[in-house]
Point group: D2
Chain length 472, copies 4
């Protein structure tokens, strides 16, 4: 949570509120224990943290005090440096884990239980034994002002650190389970973002946008024009923090170029006259909510809302990158049979007749290859064909589509509709997607069937033109 | 949930919103399955419900559809009569329970697991096996508009029905666990209620008030006067439904009479001049949240807030009933040694010298005994003494104070401060508490110690006057 | 303003806010001058008020101080008794009137002015001379918290007192001119009132309702049911004070009976199925805004809004009393030719054949005449005929319809559609309107023409049935 | 109103709302008349406008229709080009002016009037005759959505055009009188602006800032830091349009340099520890409200609010430019006696001993003179002395301080406290104020006396240091 560390004022403010809230009840003792900890949490300080966690977990029947103690611990955590925090988390993961002796005993009781009522009790006891003590502490952090954001950010750190520190993984899973319950879709609120939204919120969106970077306030304002829509999900306990957001353009016909969509000088269209809604960017905003999925819901709720507001909309589709394309081409690029003979010939001509035809992957490395009209023209056919094949046919070992964006939209029940040539010539677009972009089509009446076919049989819904393209 | 049944318009509205929300996605098929069910849910209809629940639980990876199916089931549930609902719940409890075979298998895997990583996976698998499939359906009901209220009301029914139908108890426990997570204190919002609050909300408070009934809008307005405070907890997913609320009077000195406090003709005091805050009523509003405790938090947050707003406040205390007093006196009433000789004598004189002295419990049955000055005077000493003893010394088998109100405040860390004679002469006050009321004192600096002493050693914090009174 | 006097706490609160707002600037001197005035404002106190008004009006270029002085004067005014206030107002009216010498001088300058620019200046100067100094003080009262409400209530007093004290009339006219400018229709906000509105606002509506008294909270809630609509105008400077409000029932067909409309036990209809909106009550809430008309706007904006919300609505009409009917009948009642011979005969039979037929006006004096079936039947024909004649033909000397309600709706461009027999059998309905009520029809396309015909030629728009009825 | 012309979408939206609002009542006839006008309003179109204005003004007793007609006229006005609008306004000014014959007649009646009541009537009639018919039309534009903003912007155009077209001046004065009444201080709402304010509002503030230009969103955010305050006045009928705003820095000691205050890299101070509030920028935002003063109120309300929030604040002062200084120096610059002999000598040395000493005004023309340490040092004494003299002693013919900023603060009752050397070295600061800035001190207890002394006797409140400086 280096971001939090960089904003001590926010945290201090939160803490001031907290002290006000628990004044007198929290007692200063809690703060005294933890306020003087050294940032790297050396052993004797760690010991003091351990005692305080024990005290907090032991405070039965007096939840108010327990929460005040948890708050003091959170305060201490925020004041630590990265190393100190990791030691804090490892302590939490190790010392307040599931008690395996307790689990074994509960299993014994469960097996011995006779009669319905006894079995029920034993089940419940076993379930309880399987819950680590630290979960109670995590829950109690929710009493903090902005406590949910605290936990989400703590999980962001845990995800990073647990990669090479397995003991932290179980703690991370506990935290995820807690957040899955609290961030149930039913609690989320969808809000439209406009140029009338708070500047502080817009600033966050700029920093969270993960697909097509927002380069300036002018760029952002352009994405909030009357012929655009911008929606985000929020949770009531984090009202100023977007969880995920989607950007939509209201246009005529399937959009085939992202630079054209984002052109700040393009005139504003009358949204009432649009027949197509293009979802051109969807970004998750909270690293600490990784693995908790909202995108499917957001897209479908936006589809509903737009269909309700604009009666002229007939088509709902995306304009999406193919982030894994270049990588796949590189891995597949050595195979000469990727290109058909006419394609090879055309390419050789465009390259000025050199003897050896370099692999496509190599050609794509050249800066500005797409500005060389003849070359680009010669590369178009094979690239379009291969990318169609990549999207439709390439699978991972577990049967999922190899491209993560493709997998996301297929799981949502969308159909692969069209590939667009030179649709994103930004450095990132060229680097990842070879400048290509895909329209995925959301047709509400087909969504359930598409999802089921993909889920159960790995079948990819695809337009006939795409299918023909993939077949060459 | 007969209340819900009595308000079809609300539910219909919720359902209309829902259809709008999921239009096109939900598909009409879900509604068709469930819309035509007969109210008493005969066997073939029950079979259709079973199929739909299976379909809903089987919809992996397409949460949007799964929630639409859950919504259709909820709609069906609301349209059933009481018998039909119970059959629905029994189906849910029985057919979608924990799979014990699965649990046994998971236990076997757990015992066999070797190595840390394998153990972790086995733990997680066992935890999963212990969660009944029905829990996923309950969670999905949260997608409904007012879905949380739906679940809370469903639990209210379950609590009632599971008393004599044990199979429902486990389902009720599952639902409770879900609600415990969602209604974590950290999510609650405390709001002050005033005469500017919505009439619809005030009307609910009238119907939820459980201690001193609100008899009219004028009575309610009186409780919202400038020298009164009224606070409630709300959950963001049920913004119009109070969870619990507390009523406070800002006065001078410990209040000793509830009728005086509620007197509509009494002049309004300047709250700035008050030295004492009297908590005279605290009511839980949602039967479906029984066993999930908010009262402790509410009292302490109100104490903090009032202390912050009114610098002159020195004392925070309750004016509370003794709901178990009369019952205890009846059970103890046969023992003649309850009264001291002088008390017996005084009582005999007051009764006009009849030969046999009736038990106190019998005397208290007489209507208007408290209006007979001489009699009341003679009863005062023994009743005050006995009630002090009841409050301070009488315990349940598990060590808790016998009176539930006493237990609540002692757990919160309060102290038994004073008993007040003829403090509540309403029919209910006489019937339950023999007209007596208690002041429990909240002294912030003592709360933790009091709570710990009571929790660990059953010690009751008590004023010296009370102690002396109990000793006679 | 006895109401204000009865609520010192509100005013004290306003004043406390004010002191806070102007702390340090206002200076305590202003308060000292005025705070110690005696309630009846004897001569020496009056003199101090005169000085302070002079000081306030003389504070050029320092508007902040001037407003603080005005606030101190307002504070003083509110603390006076009725007699003192009247003396205050007479002082304001007399000492700070237009300076007639100044007017005469300005007229002389105006007549002498040569050249366009000089004339303009002279016009402006003359206009200035015609504005009384007291207007500046009235304007400055607007600086008070709730200053607009203060002025509105002051005008309510002025209207009452100026009836028999002509010197106050000019002051009242000045205040009216100020309020006309501030309460321009363009500033008003229309809000829908529902059962979710603040109880404090609903309580005011109960007390302001002037047509069909609201007898209980239950009666009020009934008027806010889903098949009813309740709208009010508000001014941004008096956000908690309705200016005027209208109550509408969404029904099928023209409503013909007010007791049926207000029946609390009647089932709620589905408003989506309604074809008719009945405006059954419209009340002005602020006496101090008498003569400043909002009703026309409110009705037409509600018509627009309802037409927009409920596509099924075809008819917009009122169900209105005939408040001047009984009075007119009494004045006209001696003329025997009011009744036709068959009517006289039928009436005689119903009365049991007494020799002398009493006047209709006398018969209407009998309590419960309408419960005597035969008598009521005999009275129906003549009463319906005469009331139609009264409404359509009876005019005041200035050409306006004699009945004020009729005049209001005709000015709005409505048409007299139907008279309803025994439509309001409440004591007030019988006393004023002989139990009859009228439907006035608002047909948008005819409104301009109807208004013009009535305004220019006194023509009354009327249905053919009504015309036939009036002709007997 | 070129800005409005550049945003047709806003106006079209307003108009769409309007049509909805008056649907059916307005009738299409009004729009037909005006919708087809040519942008330059040739004679026959002008004639049609004349007719429609007459119709609108003649619609007595049917205000709803009259407002719809006014709306159609406003719509027509907005669609005209600049030339067409001017012709529209000249028509309004000329044809719907005061009827001088009517005024003469009213004057005759006034002179003849006998008796109090007759005089009152005659006064009122004369006042009426002095009000031009066009005022009724202006008022009716208030019925438009955003009608007040429409009128404010119309006046901005009128102010510009009436400079060389006197006939428009009277119309402009009428409009001003209307706006003076509507924009009474009592109606304004003060709001704090923060980084959480809508981006659309912040964008307006950037464009309206008139003292120290806001150069970027980063610059703006810096001015909204925790140790800054930013307040604006709003009118309820223009809720998204600031009228005037002020920027404040919470610092320790009198700030003496604007670049230091605006430095984005400067660390944020704890505002709780500040002892001084520096008002460093105050800007009027609406050209159409020129001559209607809010600045005095805004400063004093901000002083009150800050004093209430931050108990440590002891000093309230400005850091202000001296916009007329350079101009005055140029006019006075030829006089050699402006400099004292030692000053002349020091300057000669710094200039390298040229024979002829150029005037100060000429030296100030040199780019970057302030970066030449020796020269700047030599210029400091005379410039400080002369600017003190300019501020304190230089008066206009009417006795007001010559510098407009000085006059503003003296009228408000502030004191000239200090002049700061090289306090604003921005191009604008050097060009207008020779790099100097002034602290004006607001001491609440002296404000009334200072204002009175300045207003009545032209006395300037000044610190002893400043007085000494001016005397050399």
């Amino acid at each position: 949570m280096p971001e939090s560390a960089a904003k001590p004022t926010l945290l201090d403010r939160a803490w001031r509120n907290l002290r006000l809230a628990w004044r007198g009840i929290a007692g200063t003792a809690y703060d005294e224990t933890t306020a003087s900890l050294r940032p790297d949490l050396p052993d004797d300080d760690l010991e003091r943290v351990r005692s305080q966690i024990r005290a907090c977990l032991g405070a039965h029947g007096n939840e108010v005090s327990a929460r005040a103690q948890a708050a003091a611990l959170a305060r201490a955590y925020l004041a630590l440096d990265a190393g100190g925090r990791e030691r804090f988390l490892i302590l939490l993961a190790g010392d307040f884990d599931i008690d395996r002796g307790g689990v074994d005993a509960a299993i014994r009781d469960y097996r011995r239980a006779e009669g319905e009522a006894a079995r029920r009790r034993a089940e419940q006891a076993l379930r309880g034994a399987l819950e680590a003590a630290r979960v109670r502490l995590l829950t109690r952090f929710n009493g903090l002002p902005e406590g949910v954001k605290f936990l989400v950010d703590m999980r962001a750190e845990l995800i990073e650190w647990s990669r090479d520190k397995p003991p932290l993984a179980a703690l991370e899973q506990d935290l995820k389970a807690l957040l899955v319950s609290w961030f149930d879709i039913g609690f989320l609120e969808m809000r439209r973002i406009t140029w009338d939204s708070p500047a502080s919120l817009l600033e966050k969106l700029v920093s969270y946008e993960a697909v097509h970077a927002i380069t300036s306030w002018r760029d952002l304002k352009n994405r909030l024009d009357p012929d655009r829509r911008f929606f985000a999900f929020f949770h009531p306990a984090m009202p100023d923090e977007p969880l995920i957001f989607v950007e939509v353009a209201l246009v005529n016909g399937l959009a085939d170029n992202i630079q054209a969509l984002l052109d700040e000088r393009a005139p504003v269209q009358d949204p009432e006259g649009a027949d197509t809604a293009i979802f051109y960017s969807i970004s998750s905003a909270q690293k600490g909510l990784a693995g908790i999925s909202f995108g499917d819901f957001l897209i479908k709720r936006v589809v509903d809302r737009l269909a309700d507001e604009f009666k002229g909309l007939k088509t709902f589709a995306t304009l999406s990158p193919i982030p894994g394309l270049r990588k796949w081409l590189e891995e597949a690029g050595a195979e000469p049979e990727l290109l058909t003979p006419p394609e090879r010939e055309a390419l050789a001509v465009a390259l000025g007749g050199g003897e050896e035809l370099p692999p496509l992957a190599t050609l794509l490395d050249a800066p500005d290859w797409h500005r060389d009209g003849a070359l680009a023209q010669a590369m178009k056919d094979p690239l379009m064909r291969l990318s169609a094949r990549y999207i439709i046919r390439e699978k991972r070992a577990d049967g999922r589509a190899r491209d993560p964006v493709t997998h996301f939209h297929l799981t949502n029940g969308a159909r692969v509709e069209r590939i667009n040539w030179l649709a994103d010539t930004s450095p990132k677009g060229l680097r990842q997607s070879a400048g290509l972009m895909v329209n995925y089509l959301y047709r509400l009446k087909d969504i359930d069937a598409n999802n089921q076919a993909y889920r159960e049989r790995g079948e990819v819904a695809v337009s006939s033109a795409m299918r023909a393209l993939a077949q060459g």
